[in-house]
């Protein structure tokens, strides 16, 4: 039996040598038979002829023997693969184009999908994420929305823990704190981190890589991230146990978190400190935290969720005027609940455009495969006429498709890795803390890539090829070329038209994003951000500054900064314009209490602020050093507030009340952009900082050409005044403005790339279909030329076909693009969804490309020599 298996394998695998042996054996047989015939008296020729005749059809025997060699199933499969390789190698260019097309489509969708995966699908990288959760309460009343609404007071959290002891193994809390100031021997840095309950690490199941975790709320100990340890402590193991100064207090660095752990939210924490370190007391209702729970062993999630909801109603809230209606057990996710809707919309839109690229690629593939199928129509018909089963022919096409799509899919995954590297390298807005996003493709992303490839491969590769190979034996054998050609050509025209339509849709979307980015960039901001740097300086707790000493510090700092080289002006403001944050409220005219007021943002600024940011004072004056607490309360309002409260009248000398207090208007600035570049005109009220002390201010310095040096000098100035005060989040104000347009820029780049890829694919498709037509019609064109058609006429006939396809596709794409633009109009700024520039320019671009793609085949058609053409078939 073993010998038999060996013989089979030898036969099946060593095909060439087996063939040789078989031929030799049969030849030997014929020779022996011939000799025998000679011995019986025939002439050598006669003898050989008789030998051959008695042997029967040599080829038939060889065929039977070859088949006999086959190992069932494995052999046909092997055969199919070899057939596929041969077919691919016969048309290397077309196969490469097909694989590349698949790679582009799959790469685009997979890249966007990995972004979706990183932000919306993947759980935070924590051990046993399915046992972890957060409690989210639905409340109404005083503390019910915004960030604070998502937090729960610590005492209430402890009540959850005590009352839910049967479902929770532990209940912890954390809250993000930007700007811990960490004093190191040579520098004081500002670090993002979290204030946590003492059982934070135990609850998350995180064991420090070095040292240990703190375990009590009041420990004077901290744990730092692996990243911070590497960057600031030189990855020195002896850092553990060292005493450092955090927010002016001595604490012991007891542990270094494992590499890759960066907290339990989307912001990458660099440091963790127990709540007691900020003087926060567990019994304080003002200490509000994000809950973190670990389920008790054996408790199912549904059970725990029901318990959470029941507990939420039972525990009486102590916050004023707040009612808790229900609560749910949320998964710990990268993007928290309140951001998911926006993120889903944005990524859904991007994924949609990536799918358009995939569809264009698919249409291209379909056109190529139909062309191959048609070109092979006659071959297929011959094979089937000779008895190859339909299944066998289908298997060959499958093998060929598998090869092309396998290569394309693998290329697509490669492109996706490049795309993800690009995503990871994207510069995020400076005021966004480092995010905890891993874009690297994981199993889910790879499955997605495989599924996308398979879908395109089966739907647009194999089926059309099968359809095109459908046996019409008789006509195919008679004149396969002409008849089936027209059917295939029509199908290809449809696919190319579809590609053009999809490419136009993509291009329109990309152009709209680009136009809206331009509109954003050229929007009148009402101030000049170029050359201005800003940084946050926080004198609040735990620093021991009061209003007087704080003012003195701020004044001294401004004096020092103004003396720095290259500095033109310096001022303080409550926040950075266009940084995405705001505070304020409703204001109204004191002299018209019944009139409707206006919502306005407010901020306190020092007198030089208007000069520093070049905000124009249209009427009245800005602030002076005289506008201090002993002087009357004053304000500078913007045009939008003035026009609303006192239309057509001068607001100077009048008073406003509301969110800004009761103040006299002394100046009016022009309208501007304050929170988002893309906002509608909105109200703004500036208040003098000397009348409104705030411990946390943003220093603004106009130092054109010396921005980097200024940031360094500012750090030194602050350190000289107080080494425990950190300068955090230094930024270029122009960068903040640009960052505000980050989604627009991101979408413009991504969709723009997709649009170009789509256009290229469509151009390739158009070129392919026309070139193919010209090649097929060589003879017809030759006859025409011979009968007197001019070259121009031939060119027209080829170009005409391309133009018709382009016009129809373009028209369809304009309609689809218009509908899409209206559907996603909320993503655009400053343009109408049916922006005439866009809808005028895209078709022109498309026709230019279509013309170029058609021109080459048309020229080739015109250069057909009648005599050559007539001989070509």
């Amino acid at each position: 039996m073993l010998a038999g298996i060996g013989a089979r394998l030898r036969d099946a695998l060593g095909r060439a040598s087996a063939d040789r042996e078989m031929d030799e054996e049969l030849r030997f047989h014929i020779e022996m038979e011939t000799e025998k015939n000679v011995r019986s008296g025939m002439t050598p020729e006669e003898a050989r002829r008789h030998a051959l005749v008695s042997f029967g059809g040599m080829e038939r025997h060889r065929g039977r023997l070859r088949e006999g060699r086959q190992v069932p199933f494995v052999e046909p499969l092997w055969h199919d693969v070899r057939f596929g390789v041969r077919a691919v190698r016969r048309t290397p260019g077309l196969s490469a184009v097909a694989a590349l097309t698949v790679a582009l489509g799959v790469g685009a969708t997979t890249t966007v999908f990995s972004a979706v995966n990183a932000t919306l699908l993947r759980p935070l990288p924590l051990p046993e994420p399915e046992r972890l959760g957060s409690i989210q309460e639905r409340r109404s009343g005083a503390v019910s929305n915004g960030v604070e609404g998502m937090l729960i007071a610590y005492p209430r959290l402890l009540e959850y823990r005590d009352a839910g002891a049967d479902v929770f193994a532990s209940v912890a809390g954390h809250r993000l704190e930007d700007g811990f100031s960490l004093r190191l021997p040579d520098v004081t840095i500002s670090v993002n981190g979290a204030l946590t309950s003492g059982n934070y690490f135990e609850t998350l199941g995180i064991r420090p890589e070095l040292g240990r975790a703190y375990t009590s709320d009041d420990a004077r100990e901290i744990v730092i991230s692996h990243t911070l340890w590497a960057s600031r402590f030189g990855a020195d193991p002896s850092a553990v146990g060292r005493t450092v100064v955090l927010d002016g207090r001595s604490v012991t660095l007891v542990g270094v978190a494992p590499r890759g752990f960066a907290g339990a939210s989307f912001v990458a924490d660099q440091l963790w400190a127990p709540v007691g370190l900020r003087g926060l007391d567990a019994s304080s209702w003002s200490l509000r935290m994000v809950p973190l729970v670990r389920l008790a062993p054996g408790v199912r999630r549904g059970q725990a969720a029901a318990a959470v909801d029941a507990l939420a109603r039972r525990i009486v809230p102590e916050e004023q005027e707040t009612t808790v209606h229900s609560a749910r057990l949320a998964h710990l996710e990268v993007v928290p609940d309140d951001g998911r809707g926006v993120a889903m919309g944005f990524f859904g839109m991007l994924l949609g455009t990536a799918v358009l690229v995939l569809l264009i690629a698919a249409a291209n593939i379909a056109a190529i495969m139909v062309a191959r199928g048609v070109a092979r129509h006659r071959e297929t018909a011959v094979r089937m006429a000779m008895g190859a089963s339909r299944a066998r022919v289908a298997r060959h096409l499958l093998a060929e498709s598998l090869l092309i799509f396998g290569a394309g899919g693998a290329g697509g995954v490669g492109l996706a890795y490049l795309g993800c590297a690009w995503l990871t390298g994207l510069e995020l807005p400076p005021q966004v803390p480092p995010l905890l996003l891993g874009f690297t493709p994981d199993g889910r992303v790879l499955s997605f890539a495989v599924a996308a490839t398979a879908l395109v491969g089966l739907g647009f590769g194999l089926l059309p090829a099968l359809g095109a190979s459908r046996p019409d034996l008789v006509p195919a054998l008679k004149d396969g070329a002409t008849r089936s050609g027209s059917r295939g050509a029509r199908v290809r025209d449809v696919f190319v038209g579809a590609q053009v339509a999809l490419a136009v849709t993509l291009l329109l979307t990309a152009a709209l994003f680009s136009r809206s980015l331009q509109a954003g960039l050229s929007a009148d901001l009402g101030f000049d951000p170029t050359g201005v740097v800003a940084a946050s300086i926080n004198l609040g707790a735990p620093h021991e500054y009061d209003r007087e000493t704080g003012r003195a510090f701020q004044h001294a700092l401004l004096t020092r900064v103004r003396a720095l080289p290259g500095v033109e002006a310096a001022a303080l403001s409550g926040y950075v314009l266009l940084g995405g944050s705001r505070s304020g409220g409703h204001v109204r005219a004191e002299d018209a209490p019944n009139e409707q007021g206006i919502n306005a943002s407010t901020t306190a600024v020092t007198p030089e602020y208007f000069r520093t940011l070049r905000i124009e004072i249209l009427e009245g004056r800005g602030f002076t050093d005289a506008d201090d607490e002993s002087a009357p309360a004053v304000a500078v309002i913007n045009r939008t507030v003035a026009d609303r409260l006192w239309p057509g009248q001068s607001p100077l000398g009048r008073r406003i009340t509301g969110a800004a207090g009761n103040v006299e208007v002394v100046g009016v600035t022009g309208p501007g952009k304050y929170v988002f570049v893309t906002e509608e005109p909105s109200g703004f009220v500036f208040l003098p900082q000397l009348q409104r002390y705030r411990s946390r201010m943003f220093l603004h310095v106009r130092a054109p050409g010396a921005e980097a040096a200024t940031i360094r000098d500012v750090r030194a100035a602050v350190r000289a005044l107080d080494p425990d005060v950190a300068v955090s989040a230094p930024m270029l104000v122009s960068g903040v403005v640009g960052a505000g347009l980050f989604p627009h820029r991101f979408a413009t780049q991504l969709v723009g790339t997709f649009g170009m890829v789509g256009l290229l694919l469509a151009a390739m498709g158009l070129y392919g279909v026309l070139a193919y037509q010209v090649a097929r019609r060589t003879r017809e064109l030759g006859v025409r030329r011979a009968l007197g058609a001019t070259a121009a006429r031939v060119v027209r006939s080829v170009l005409g076909r391309g133009i018709i396809v382009a016009v129809l596709g373009c028209g369809l794409g304009m309609v689809a693009g218009g509908a899409l633009a209206i559907a996603i109009r909320s993503f655009f700024y400053g343009i109408r969804p049916l922006d005439p520039v866009t809808f005028g320019a895209v078709p022109i671009l498309l026709f230019a490309v279509a013309l170029a793609a058609s021109w080459i085949p048309a020229r080739r058609a015109a250069s057909v020599e009648p005599s050559v053409a007539l001989r070509s078939e």
């Binding site: 039996m1 073993l2 010998a3 038999g4 298996i5 013989a7 089979r8 036969d11 042996e21 078989m22 030799e24 054996e25 049969l26 030997f28 047989h29 020779e31 022996m32 038979e33 025998k36 008789h50 005749v53 008695s54 042997f55 029967g56 038939r60 025997h61 039977r64 023997l65 006999g68 060699r69």
Partner: protein, 112 residues
């Protein structure tokens, strides 16, 4: 040229005849066909179209193996010989053939 009166070897019995031939000595394909023809006194003619597939079949079953050797005339030829398994198979097949042939004989005698 084949003798017009010669009968084609019955399907299924060819394997047995090949095994019998090879049980005497290793032989190449042409030789096997000659032996069968001689020993059947010219009555049985082995169709080459069935001989080589039968050899291949037997080889795949592990009953025979092949080696390249030289003939008396110093020619290269593929020689087949029985394996131990093939020898056992040959004995079994012979018995079952004899039973079968006997049974067919009885039936033919009974009805004649």
């Amino acid at each position: 040229m084949a003798d017009p009166t010669a009968n084609d070897v019955l399907r299924g019995t060819l394997d047995l005849l090949i095994l019998k031939t090879l049980s005497l000595e290793p032989m190449h394909g042409w030789g096997i066909s000659q032996r069968i023809q001689e020993r059947s006194r010219g009555i049985l003619d082995v169709n080459q179209g069935s001989l080589y597939p039968a050899l291949q079949r037997l080889e795949h079953r592990g009953w025979i193996v092949s080696d390249w050797g030289t003939t008396e005339n110093n020619r290269r030829a593929k020689y087949y010989r029985l394996t131990a398994e093939g020898r056992r198979g040959f004995v079994n097949e012979t018995e079952s053939w004899q039973r079968y042939a006997g049974a067919v004989g009885w039936i033919l005698e009974a009805t004649s």
